[in-house]
Symmetry: C2
Subunit: 344 residues, 2 copies
């Protein structure tokens, strides 16, 4: 086979750097410099190259660039779930930052399964992404090893209770649990229950519950009832779980839920079943999703900033990539507060 001497071989195919080089009478490498905004390019040369490129409809091939340059302009993002608004909001935040750059998001959904997360990490790292954003601080040993050894920045989001492998942006779930316990006790509640779901995967919800229970004990009012459902969190599950819990423990005067979806279900159940909220019973959630404000009674919740968490994670990643993270902290704890509504 004759070697590719001239770009005219590539008839019909997508134009390459060689086409641009031939047409502009400049070397390939100089063209490359133009498209990468590399330094040391005269504006005359730049203009010639750009003209040729646009005449040809040339677009750089990022795959070739990635192979030669040993890094793709991809950022791998692994989220545990798409079934409530939390992670879509985080993704939206990440995208809002990344879409302004040449980086693209590759998505993996782990379904709250650390084994699935592991294979996603393995898989996505093979692409040589520019960086990785994963959820939580808990991973399998193999995942942890891969995340530690890979050269690129890794941001662990959602959780600030612990030390990230590399970079971290999250909230303190321990603090969240404690704050809510204090809030309920301060408002005079005595028989307090807890409802969780999804077999308490995300370790984060366990952290919240344990801190919640610990603080209740400290305040002399230990948890009166607890119910952890097996299914995925949802409004519907919150309804049925609340009903089930109140059947066995009709005297509860407060319930803290693992998240707002469950709590909204609880609220709807209580309203439908004739409970007086908050007089009979107080209800509180976690996250502060948009829906809590739209309820007939505004749900008390702990507000977290998911979109902002995505933004910060992406910015931290970019900053590290660009070496702008030198003095700055590698872990960011996002604010958190009890947002009192009408249900406590």
């Amino acid at each position: 086979m004759v070697s590719n001497q001239s770009a005219s071989d590539n008839v019909g195919g997508r134009p390459t750097l060689r086409h641009v080089a031939e047409r502009s009478g400049v070397s390939e490498i100089s063209c490359s410099r133009v498209f990468r905004d590399a330094p040391n390019v005269s504006s005359a040369l730049r203009a010639k190259v750009l003209a040729a490129a646009s005449a040809l409809g040339y677009t750089p091939n990022p795959v070739a660039g990635a192979l030669a340059g040993n890094a793709t302009d991809l950022v791998a993002v692994i989220v545990p779930s798409m079934s409530n608004s939390v992670f879509p909001e985080v993704l939206d935040g990440i995208d809002s930052v990344l879409s302004g750059t040449r980086y693209r998001t590759v998505l993996g959904i782990s379904h709250y399964d650390l084994q699935t997360e592991e294979s996603l990490v393995r898989d996505l790292i093979a692409w040589n992404p520019r960086g990785l954003i994963v959820s939580g601080l808990e991973h399998t040993g193999a995942t942890r090893q891969m995340l530690t050894r890979c050269k690129m920045p890794v941001v662990e989001i959602m959780d600030a209770d612990g030390t990230p492998i590399d970079l971290g942006v999250g909230v303190s779930h321990t603090r969240a649990g404690r704050l809510m316990a204090q809030h309920l006790v301060a408002s005079g509640r005595q028989r307090i229950g807890y409802i969780g779901a999804w077999g308490e995967r995300p370790a984060r919800s366990v952290k919240r519950r344990l801190a919640f229970e610990r603080e209740l004990v400290r305040q002399g009012i230990p948890l009166a009832a607890r119910r952890i459902e097996a299914g995925d969190s949802s409004v519907a599950l919150g309804q049925s779980a609340t009903e089930a819990l109140l059947v066995t423990q009709p005297d509860l005067d407060a319930i803290f839920y693992a998240n707002d979806d469950l709590a909204i279900g609880g609220l709807l159940y209580c309203m439908g079943a004739g409970y007086q909220v908050p007089d009979n019973i107080a209800l509180a959630g976690f996250n502060g999703i948009a829906l809590v404000d739209a309820m007939p009674l505004r749900l008390t919740t702990i507000q977290t900033a998911r979109y902002e968490m995505g933004v910060q994670a992406a910015q931290m990643l970019l900053a590290d990539l660009e070496g702008r993270l030198d003095g700055r902290p590698r872990k960011l704890t996002m604010p958190l507060k009890v947002r009192q509504g009408d249900t406590t």
Copy 2:
């Protein structure tokens, strides 16, 4: 510089096919065949290669494979929004299919802006993805051209009212609008209003509304009031828009909303403001998100299958890629039905 004769150069780096080849005493291309499950590989050779690979911890580099093989194992997905559950559900469906394959999802969010969509398409096509999934049938001329000319399969999702460029999976929004008009008229409504949002970007919502209005005219009961908000759809916007519409048109006895988020807002507003739903006023949405069942009154809505739409889109894409789509239709219209709740 001396050329790379032996894999021992790559000290510390990730192992490559050459390392595996050296260690197993087999040629690189044979190793390559093993990892690609290519035909004509003896099981003895396969075993040797696999042993060497696992001893070395070798993982194929998909970037190099993509350059040499002229296609990445990426599927580009462009959705207009992450701010309600609709597209996350679609993504979840897509992922459920793709995660079982070697394909990965690259995500773009267009924010309902066709110009943004265009630049995402341009950008993502440059990666040579295996296929593309985009939302809607309406695109800029340039987008349409790129989607037409690119060699890979393109699935346009969400909308079945029109002819997809290549492949399509969606529902008929025209039918949806007509069905709801019939439903409201059949239930005796006489002064019917409509509330939309987001300046009616997605053309799909316009199709629904126009079909709705057309059918009302046909039935002799033309639309009594219409309000299109500028902001993004949300429960909160549904509340305020409903209030605003009912202030100017207090005699409405039904409102059809562009989607469930708005309709739930309307429901909450009406309940809070003392309207009797559905006696005073009927309310109906579109989508059938999980939340409609969790409301104190179950919202009447038009049920669509978003997760399933994602599944079908991904399956159609894979089928086309594998040449299994020959006889089968290239456009799939998903079912749709009015799901009567307590609000009509």
